[in-house]
Amino acid sequence: MDIIIADNLVRQFHSPKKPAGSFKLLKSVFSMQKETINVVDHVTFTVRKGDFVGYIGPNGAGKSTTIKMLSGVLVPTSGTVHVKGLEPYKNRKQHAGNIGVVFGQRTQLWWDLPLIESFKLLGKIYNVPKERFQHNLEMFTEILDMSSFLSTPVRQLSLGQRMRGDIAAALLHEPEILFLDEPTIGLDILAKEKIQSFLQKINKEKEITIILTTHNMDDIEKLCRRVIFIDKGQILFDGSTVVMTAEFGGFRYLVVDAPNWDEAAWNGPSVERREDNQLFDGSKTTSRWPP
């Protein structure tokens, strides 16, 4: 069953065109000229229930904008989205109950309140019945290991703790679909692994459909069965992770920096590229990484 259907989704942003020449400041006040950019450009895809989809691409590719359209915050310029049969921005109230959203770079928790108070407030906002709320809270506290900082104000939490809080907050009302926009941004390996295994668990056990955007190939390889690759608003690749790694990631490069390396004596894989004397050419004494 297709739970998310995006059909020819387009979102344009307008930015005023900067006039050039003399009096450009004055011109810019009266100028009505606009530049139109298709941030998301005719994107079409469907997601089945229980899928774990990685949505990847470089900065500014339109990942977050797509997520925001799927979550009903932004209105598409053209094209349609249906999430569980609803058009997100038209039925926002009903839609919001079906989805959980985490934007890794922001937090929906109340900055000055203890974490537990934020959870309680969200429980009220989403109208979660008391027993369900208590049950979910206890479960998340245990799996995400949050008991030690439940009563700490959010502003005093570390990034890893805050992110765990944010993910729990997005799941308290038991949504069927979870949108994660860079949930592992800036996290250390341990925190990342904790979150990864948690996501894997809820995806398997509760059949929550997850769409995840990330720059972390680690997330993709560990979690996602399917990958959508987007650049400049257009989908470049849509398929299974295995196919993608075979197609794009068939090789691993080993970069060797060594003084006085004797290539003649080398009998490993063939050398792809040489950058002779780059590190020790005398004029540049600082080492550069990556080369």
């Binding site: 926002r92 919001a96 959203v101 770079q105 922001r106 926009d181």
Partner: protein, 253 residues
């Protein structure tokens, strides 16, 4: 300089004092030696004037705080996504917040100040129907100022920089609502024009009800006036919300 119609300079009086009404407890009042001058010219006794002034200071406490800056901050840093994706109506959410602030300032500002006034100043307070009408009128005033606030606040989504618009709104509301200068001090043509605008529903109508300047069938007319403007602004705010949601831009992250 506003010329006060029908307010003739009488001996030993300071007409100009009226022009220096400021929003502070130090209201200056035009009084003359026998306390009759204003009563003759405007139909309001100087006691009524004092009540008006004191009460308008108190009513400032129930006017909901501006939401423009909050919205513009949230649009700037993008955290408005969370407000826009919650299972609530955006306007209703802001209204609920305003009601919370309203109840808070009722308990901690309005009621204590009212008690203090009743204890230390001789004030003729309304009773019966007049009092009920006053209470209803205050609620309408709250609603009106919330709606104006919300509509102006939504402009912050478009413009982000909101200081000028916000200032404009504050000044217009303060002057046109009768909060700083009672409407009957304006030249007749201006006063008539202002009486058609929604702003007078925020201060002028409830205060006039309190001091008994509005009585009889005029009470219903004025309440209906407030209600009609509330309805009109509510519809306008829905329209504005619909339009602006479509134009919301959140970039980065």
């Amino acid at each position: 300089m506003v010329r006060l119609k029908g307010c003739r300079p009488v001996s030993n009086s300071h007409v100009t004092e009226v022009l220096f009404f400021v929003q502070s407890p130090n209201y200056s009042f035009y009084r003359n030696s026998n306390g009759q001058g204003l009563a003759l010219s405007t139909g309001v006794s100087s006691q009524g004037m004092q009540t008006y002034a004191m009460l308008s200071v108190i009513l400032f406490a129930i006017i909901p705080p501006s939401i423009s800056y909050e919205i513009s901050d949230k649009v700037r840093d993008g955290s408005i996504v969370f407000d826009m994706q919650k299972p609530w109506d955006y306007e209703w959410m802001h209204f609920s917040k305003a009601v919370g602030v309203f109840m808070y300032s009722m308990i901690y500002a309005v009621i204590p100040q009212l008690i203090a006034i009743l204890l230390f100043f001789p004030v003729d307070y309304p009773t019966g129907l007049q009092a009920a009408a006053f209470a209803a009128s205050v609620l309408f005033a709250f609603l009106l100022s919330f709606l104006i606030n919300f509509i102006v606040g939504m402009s912050a989504v478009l413009f982000t920089e909101t200081w000028g618009i916000e200032m404009f709104k504050t000044v217009i509301t303060d002057i046109c609502s009768g909060a700083m200068v009672p409407l009957w001090f304006f030249p007749e043509a201006v006063a008539r024009f202002l009486s058609w605008l929604p702003f007078q529903g925020i201060f002028n109508i409830p205060l006039s009800l309190f001091i008994g300047k509005i009585t009889g069938t005029a009470i219903w007319e004025q309440l209906a006036f407030q209600a009609a403007w509330c309805l009109a602004l509510l519809l306008l705010s829905r329209l504005v919300l619909r339009r602006i949601e479509r134009r919301l831009v959140i970039s980065g992250g």
